[in-house]
């Protein structure tokens, strides 16, 4: 499949909005999922740190 030019590639035969809308949505969903997961992991670790400090303070 050869594209004449970059402009042709982005235009996708006039369907650019739909094609890129789909692929971009995919990228956004995947990126969002990864970011949310990272935040979840960080907050879980934060909670453990807080619990540990409380535990050590009580000991």
């Amino acid at each position: 499949m050869t594209w004449g030019s970059a402009a042709e590639f982005f235009a996708m035969g006039g369907y650019g909005f739909y094609v890129w809308g789909s692929f971009l949505a995919t990228v956004v969903c995947i990126a969002a999922e990864m970011l949310i997961l990272r935040a979840r992991r960080q907050s879980a670790l934060e909670r453990i740190r807080a619990e540990r400090l409380r535990y050590e303070a009580a000991a």
Binding site: M1, V19, S22, L45, I48
Partner: protein
């Protein structure tokens, strides 16, 4: 009992599985990235233009793999749920719980890309065809599972209740799918079907399969990361958690 069997059950405890999951994740992440790159390259630079749908058909390279994954992940989620109920292992339920959001994400993506594909092809953003409508119901099944799990505070009760729901759901999925197919053929007015994809050139099929594989590897990687987060959340009060390197 062979030593192989004992070996597996050792990993059934969340603290033992945690490091294993951590070691497994990069492999699946790399597989996902590489196969995704290959799939996208095929999607845009190898697969030819379709005679009827022009370039808009390229959406199938994400739409169809996303649909496949959303259905496959539900099965896997139900499988882990069943295992958790049968063996009463916490980790099995945690795995099911870890898979759900990714499955829901793919269901949503399938609906979104399906709508974007429907507009240039059939003129409207939403088409009540059998595949999309079933996908919508599957999306609600995922949301119901996550909502039930979130609404129950006690983790063990939440695990078991959500597991029952997942099993009930998985039995219903073929019934729902069949009934929606039935419904779609009954009302012949809108007899359009997004499933009538362009007759598959080999490159198109290859691209779809590779993208599906990429999504699958991605799902495994993300589920492993998420189950690690769930383990951290559920084991927050334990000695094991306090000793963790990441938590110092």
């Amino acid at each position: 009992m062979s030593s192989g069997l004992i070996h597996w059950f050792r990993y059934a405890s969340p603290p033992s599985f945690y490091p294993l999951a951590g070691r497994m994740t990069p492999w699946f992440a790399w597989l996902a990235a590489v196969s995704g790159a290959v799939g996208l390259w095929i999607a845009f630079f190898v697969a030819p233009t379709d005679a009827q749908q022009g370039e808009s058909y390229r959406i199938i390279f994400v739409h169809v793999p996303a649909s496949w994954m959303s259905m496959f992940l539900y099965l896997v989620m139900a499988g882990w749920s069943g295992l958790g109920l049968a063996l009463n292992t916490r980790l099995s339920s945690m795995m099911a719980h870890a898979i759900a959001p990714t499955g829901a994400m793919f269901a949503f993506l399938s609906l979104w890309t399906g709508a974007l594909w429907g507009r240039p092809t059939w003129g409207t953003y939403w088409v009540w065809d059998a595949r999309l409508t079933s996908e919508l119901v599957l999306f609600f099944l995922y949301l119901g599972y996550m909502a039930l799990r979130a609404a129950i505070d006690d983790p063990r009760r939440g695990d078991r209740a959500a597991a029952v729901l997942a099993l009930v759901g998985v039995i219903n999925v073929p019934i729902i799918y069949f009934s929606v197919q039935w419904w779609n053929t009954l009302h012949q007015g809108a007899s359009v079907s997004l499933t009538r994809a362009p007759s598959m050139a080999a490159a198109m099929l290859a691209g779809m399969l590779i993208m599906a594989f990429a999504f699958w590897m991605y799902s495994i990687a993300v589920s492993l990361v998420r189950v690690r987060a769930i383990i951290l959340e559920r084991e927050a009060h334990t000695e094991w958690a306090y000793q963790l390197k990441e938590a110092t």
